[in-house]
């Protein structure tokens, strides 16, 4: 707490916090303003006399209209959604199973397997994208959604496993033992007794995994080539720029609309997202 006069509270707290919030959010404000600004105002040099950058008197939806009618943006949204949901589902199933095994079962090499999975968690996509592009081509997955649905779990599973291990470890062993005395098999005890308790963890892992797959860029850039297969980040990058010409209106509209699904998921599950984020770091 800050002691003393009111001005101290302003200098040490309100002013720095306001500056932080302003700087962190300004680019998004800029995205919105650019989206609704007509082209005539958009391309007015910054030192022109009647330049009013921070608002517009004549808001327009022409860029959004262009984006939806003249480009494949809605296809990209659908592609991204399908890929993100499918890879999240695969990763959750794998992560929950693996996390359960590593946290609650005794078997040889459990420790080294856990460490191995943790290490794959730290492997960045940029280390492997070149050989992986070759492999994807050899498996005949190139330029299909499967290329991403099957490769995204490589960076989602380790994180889901790690997060679920934490949750499973916190559940007392006695619960399972009771169920087993009542005649449930190990697998049933896991599905009916332990999984329902771990739902908050599964939700956190799922939401974090969904935003990560929506965000992914380099695999999508390298593995997909035809415009109608692309995801939002890649489509916006490659199809809304012709040579050196940037269509800033539709670009910003695409950035804005492309962010909405993630922002919506995030706004409904802030607490779970934060739990996933901090859990992923704490391990």
């Amino acid at each position: 707490m800050i002691e003393g006069a009111a001005w101290r509270k302003w200098v040490y707290f309100y002013i720095p916090l306001t500056i932080f919030v302003f700087l962190l959010l300004f680019p998004f404000y800029w995205m919105i303003v650019t989206t609704v600004r007509p082209d005539g105002e958009l391309y007015r040099p910054w030192n022109a006399p009647n330049y009013t950058p921070f608002w517009t008197a004549n808001p327009t939806l022409e860029h959004i209209q262009y984006l939806l009618e003249e480009t494949l943006f809605s296809t990209w949204m659908l592609n991204t959604m399908i890929i993100a949901l499918a890879s999240t589902a695969i990763s959750l199933v794998c992560g929950v199973f693996a996390g359960y095994a590593l946290a609650r079962l005794n078997f040889p090499f459990a420790g080294s397997l856990g460490t191995g999975i943790f290490i794959t968690y730290l492997v960045p996509q940029t280390l492997l994208f070149i050989p992986l592009s070759d492999i994807v081509r050899n498996f005949r997955l190139g330029d299909t959604p499967w290329a991403l649905i099957l490769t995204y779990p490589t960076f989602l599973i380790p994180f889901c496993t790690w997060l679920m291990m934490g949750y499973f470890k916190a559940i007392p062993k006695e619960l399972e033992e009771c169920a087993r005395i009542d005649g449930a098999s190990r697998f049933k005890a896991m599905v009916y007794i332990i999984l329902p308790i771990a739902v908050p963890g599964i939700l956190s892992a799922g939401i974090f995994a969904f935003t990560l797959s929506w965000n992914e860029f380099i695999y999508a850039l390298v593995f997909l080539s035809s415009p109608e297969q692309k995801t939002v980040p890649v489509g916006v990058t490659s199809e809304l720029i012709r040579g050196d010409v940037f269509f800033w209106g539709p670009l910003m509209a695409g950035a804005l609309l492309g962010s909405i699904p993630v922002a919506l998921v995030y706004s409904f599950f802030v607490e779970h997202y934060v739990a996933g984020l901090t859990g992923s770091v704490k391990g």
């Binding site: 707290f13 720095p16 916090l17 932080f20 919030v21 700087l23 959010l25 680019p27 998004f28 800029w30 391309y43 910054w46 950058p53 199933v93 794998c94 693996a98 095994a101 079962l105 078997f107 459990a110 999975i117 794959t120 730290l122 960045p124 940029t126 280390l127 070149i130 050989p131 592009s133 070759d134 492999i135 490589t154 599973i157 496993t161 098999s185 190990r186 697998f187 935003t211 929506w214 965000n215 860029f217 380099i218 390298v222 939002v232 980040p233 890649v234 990058t237 800033w248 670009l251 910003m252 695409g254 950035a255 962010s259 993630v262 995030y266 934060v274 984020l277 770091v281 704490k282 391990g283």
Partner: protein, 311 residues
């Protein structure tokens, strides 16, 4: 009739109960549960890694397996001035942004670790730079850095800080600074929220005790908060160092490695060589050159986690 069906069912039922029996054994259940994970990680992490090493020792191009050339690709990139520049850029980029992200993130975390009205709201909003797809928010920055229509230039001009235009992404040194600014902007929320979670585990009583003993706010931070926060800080920094070191998207969108190849990082240069010019083997060598550093960071992280766990 019923006898025959029962006789027909028996072997099936028997095998089913055998599977059930196996799954009652912890070792078999663990193997079954871990199988899908091992399959995917083996196919798409371990195999590509081995393949990447093999690739880097050949002269492969797109659609052409090439011949065994030993370490020729590594010798070639070692003498490549653009690669050397990229190595230097990557270290400089990682070092500078990590210092800023840690300092600003910690400051923001301390500000947020306080009760004020609208706290949940503020906390939710400041994470936006981290959750919004990086490529998309980076385009907003690219537009803000635009040489002709830059809002930053306008603002600084109106404030009387500059007289002419600043070519944010056109000048080699300034372009690197611009990329760093965007990286810091995107990373600060992650640091702040993670460190905030760490701060919240520190009991306020420790602070009160220190205050009663006469410690000033700065001393309380340095002698009470910081040591207790160190484990979380270490892990956050190591994670972020790996991500920053292997960064691709920011440079790809903002400068594409330009102007005149001055802002390449390992990943963007590997992309340009492998995908841009089709020299898969040389590209694989460039991205594998990241490996020793990443490996070192991972080892430090594992040792550190083990030390914390066994304490």
């Amino acid at each position: 009739m019923s006898v025959t069906t029962a006789a027909l069912r028996t072997p099936e039922a028997a095998s089913r109960s055998r599977v059930k029996g196996l799954l009652e054994d912890e070792r078999w259940l663990a193997a079954a549960l871990l199988f899908p994970t091992m399959l995917l990680l083996g196919l798409f992490i371990a195999y590509p890694f081995v393949k990447g090493v093999m690739l880097s020792l050949t002269s492969a191009r797109v659609g052409e397996p090439g011949d065994w050339v030993g370490l020729a690709n590594f010798a070639k990139i070692w003498d490549d001035p653009i690669f050397r520049r990229a190595v230097w850029n990557t270290f400089w980029y990682t070092g500078v942004t990590t210092v800023f992200k840690l300092a600003l993130g910690l400051w923001l975390a301390v500000l947020l670790n306080r009760h004020f009205r609208g706290k949940a709201f503020v906390r939710a909003f400041i994470l936006l730079p981290f959750i919004i797809p990086t490529v998309l928010s980076t385009f907003a920055w690219k537009w803000m850095f635009d040489p002709t229509f830059s809002v930053l230039n306008w603002t600084f001009y109106k404030l009387g800080l500059i007289t002419g235009r600043i070519n944010w992404l056109g000048d080699p040194d300034l372009a690197m600074v611009s990329v760093m600014v965007v990286n810091i902007w995107r990373g600060v929320p992650f640091y702040a929220i993670s460190l905030l979670a760490g701060l919240q585990t520190i009991s306020p009583e420790l602070h009160e005790a220190a205050a009663i003993d006469g410690a000033r706010p700065w001393q309380r931070f340095w002698h009470v908060t910081w040591p207790l926060l160190l484990p979380v800080t270490m892990v956050v920094v190591l994670f972020s160092v790996i991500q920053t070191f292997a960064d691709f998207q920011l440079v790809y969108v903002l400068t594409g490695g330009g102007p005149a190849n001055a802002t390449h990082l390992f990943a963007t240069y590997a992309y340009q060589i492998a995908i841009g010019t089709g020299l898969l083997s040389e590209g694989a060598a460039i991205s594998l050159a990241m490996f020793p550093v990443l490996f070192l960071v991972v080892v430090v992280q594992l040792l550190y986690i083990r030390r914390v766990e066994t304490r």
